[in-house]
Symmetry: C2
Subunit: 454 residues, 2 copies
């Protein structure tokens, strides 16, 4: 309730508690039936044994939707499973339930946050997320939120006793606010329905799915967490492939892929140029891109000649990846290189890697006075060229300074990151992660276009 209020929920709130007369300054009611007006939505947090009775009271009150935070149902025992069955039977008489064993719904448009997320973004965005783990739903929303991702709705739905993953994905499919659907699942209630739904939704909206419990040990952990069946990896491989669902395997890849879908345009080819500073970086970048099944084509000899006239003659490379010689390239050179690559490079996406990017950088090479007298910073160049050419640009900004006392440099880099994200340029911590996220986006659209052309 504290979180809901500090998030700024604007509707009426009725705490129900038989032992208190006031909670956080609000008059409490000793039972649901005592609440004077109509109620749209209830959150239940009493211990498991008390939940069925409260659900009955909510039904009697005419409440159409509930979420149940309480754990201790089908995920822990046969007795818990029976308790859960009673709740579902009550709900079948005229209400829908999210949970139990979940954090519930975050809906910025509705001013609603039930997850421990009083600091979640207030603005809505194009990404829906559903998660069978409350902890992960919270972490995904926190992390992606800090990287500029904005959500339409987020739902932690726990045991999926009534409203399940299919209901939620169906809803997000139709939701005009939602453009990208992401999910963390441990099990599914109805395999055939789930598979057909993924096939259908993937025709118009990408579904990014992290399936937990695909190893034997993971499957055992899934069982004790949400009482689901983990499922075998070989079956899930086929589900991904045949439905066009975007596969991710961990939290980092999930957040990276959401970010890439939010910022990158629908169709891109696999041809990438990497522009960075420092030769080993070029080798690693090419390896990382090609391992993610992107291609890093060698530039034409004309373009190479042109680039070589801009960058240092030694300790550099003009072939692609382009090595501009070092991470502190001047803005004027960086702009000339990126413009040449974007106009003549015959690539679909440019990744700017391993350059020193922070705003208001005091070092001399970080800014140039242009011919028009305006001073421009190195960090501004990727934004400038993206605007000018309309091609996708991605930036890799590693957490390079790892010392405990280097948090100032970290702050400067985070400000640069926020600036890029605000300008529609997705930012990643490593080139490997950038390449994988880009390949996930491209793979989705390639398959979608191939299927729709039948």
């Amino acid at each position: 309730m504290k979180v809901l209020l500090s998030f700024g929920y604007a509707g009426k709130v009725y705490p129900v508690n038989p032992r208190e007369s006031q909670i956080l300054g609000f008059k409490t009611y000793s039972s649901v039936g005592d609440i004077p007006g109509p109620v749209d939505f209830a959150t239940i947090t009493v211990p498991a044994e008390g939940v069925p009775e409260i659900v009955e009271q909510c039904l009697a009150k005419g409440i159409k939707a509930l979420q149940i935070l309480t754990s201790g149902f089908s995920e822990i025992s046969e007795a818990g499973r029976k308790l859960e069955e009673r709740i579902v039977n009550t709900a079948a008489r005229g209400m829908r339930i999210i949970g139990p064993n979940c954090f519930g719904v975050y809906s910025p448009a509705g001013g609603l946050t039930i997850l421990p997320g009083e600091n979640f973004p207030r603005e809505s965005g194009p990404v829906a997320f559903i998660g069978q783990s409350g902890g992960y739903t919270n972490r995904v929303t926190q992390r992606a939120g800090a990287w500029g991702v904005r959500f339409s709705k987020v739902v932690s739905y726990g045991n999926a006793s009534d409203v399940n993953e299919c209901d939620l994905i169906e809803y997000m499919h139709q939701d005009p606010e939602t453009r990208v659907i992401a999910a963390y699942l441990e099990g599914v209630k109805d395999g055939p329905r789930f598979f057909k739904l993924l096939q259908e939704v993937s025709k118009t909206k990408p579904v990014i799915l992290w399936k937990g419990g695909l190893t034997p040990g993971g499957a055992r952990a899934v069982h004790s967490h949400t009482g689901s069946l983990g499922g075998e990896e070989v079956i899930w491989d086929a589900v991904y492939r045949q439905s066009g669902t975007v596969r991710v395997n961990n939290l980092d890849e999930l957040v990276d892929t959401i970010l890439a879908f939010q910022h990158l345009p629908p169709y891109q080819g696999r041809r990438v140029s990497v522009v960075g500073g420092g030769g080993g970086v070029g080798v690693a970048a090419a390896d990382a891109c090609e391992r993610a099944r992107l291609s890093v084509p060698t530039f034409s000899s004309e373009l190479q000649k042109k680039l070589l006239a801009m960058i240092p003659p030694v300790g550099s490379s003009a072939r692609n990846p382009v090595d501009v010689g070092g991470p502190s390239v001047t803005p004027v050179i960086l702009r000339a290189v990126l413009e040449a690559v974007l106009t003549e490079g015959d690539v679909d996406t440019v990744i700017v890697d391993n350059l020193q990017m922070s705003l208001a950088d005091p070092s001399a090479s970080a800014r140039d006075e242009q011919s028009d007298g305006i001073v421009i910073e190195r960090a501004e160049i990727p934004v400038d060229v993206k605007k000018k050419f309309g091609k996708p640009v991605m930036v890799v900004l590693p957490v390079e300074a790892m010392d405990a006392d280097a948090v100032e440099a970290e702050g400067a880099r985070r400000r640069a990151r926020n600036y890029y994200l605000g300008e529609g340029i997705p930012v990643f911590l490593t080139l490997e992660r950038a390449a994988r996220a880009l390949a996930n986006v491209i793979g989705y659209y390639e398959r979608r276009d191939a299927v729709s052309s039948f």
Copy 2:
């Protein structure tokens, strides 16, 4: 020269420059021959065309070792290749050369740093690193150094015209200061010698090898970077397998694996327990461990019963991974759980994952007064139990707070990280990375023991 001085080099330094009379307060000499006393080591930074003559002067002066920073040799053209040949022919008459196209040697015991590393650690340690890329050699040393890794010697050797990767690995093999050898290579000069050397060295010291350029695009980048041949992945697969070399595929995995070798004991089995807070974390942890070919065995029912008496009855798991219910578990409960796991869990390594670990944490659950009246912090518990039981403990501390203004929290976490590293507990940013590094260490010792038992 500035870096060398500010690093604190204690020997004599003679700048050679025909146009200046003083550099950084030191008298300069117009040629190498003018230097009055004997010289042990020279660093050459003049443009490529001038290098052969300087090398001749060094030979005449009786200098036995050089490093050449200058680029523009065999890595860029046939003319460069011929220049390089001249240098090598001169060296054959009585000196050894590192480079050209390299940053050279960092040796804390010798007070020497030629890499751009005036802030590298002054203390020596057990890890040797050699790198064909100057940029990567610098980044590996910086990053690993920030994570508490200490080096015996680091060498960026560039084009390997004279002293090559085999010479360096042979040296590190015999160097009593070096216990772990790590390398970033783009190509090798003599395949059969390299392969036999790896087989030999791996019997007593682990060799962690990141081979750049294993994809076609990476191989092209390798060619323009150090003029090496990239080599095919299938051949390198066999080299790794048949020589017992530890394979890593990127910078993060290289640093993680160095860290794991520095802190973990020589032999461990593959059985792991993960202790964390938040159920989704347990599922992901089990998946990550098993994908890295570690095992996460389910605990005996006796141990599960014992653990269930310590942790919340719902929203938790006692099977392994252990979910203590949330990231803010109290120190007393965390200690009891870890002690039970370490004594009865029948596992080789414990990974502490997703707990709120920072020093001097102001929140109430972060500390407990023990029965002896001493106050203990949550973050101290992993150190306590590691000391008491002598079993390897690893900690996962993600960069969770990603907001630009959350650098304070980041600073607190970094201080906790340094505390763990100082106590011999390796720290990783994600569970995936911890599991992979651990598996790399275990795989090395498993193979070594299997080979030596023939």
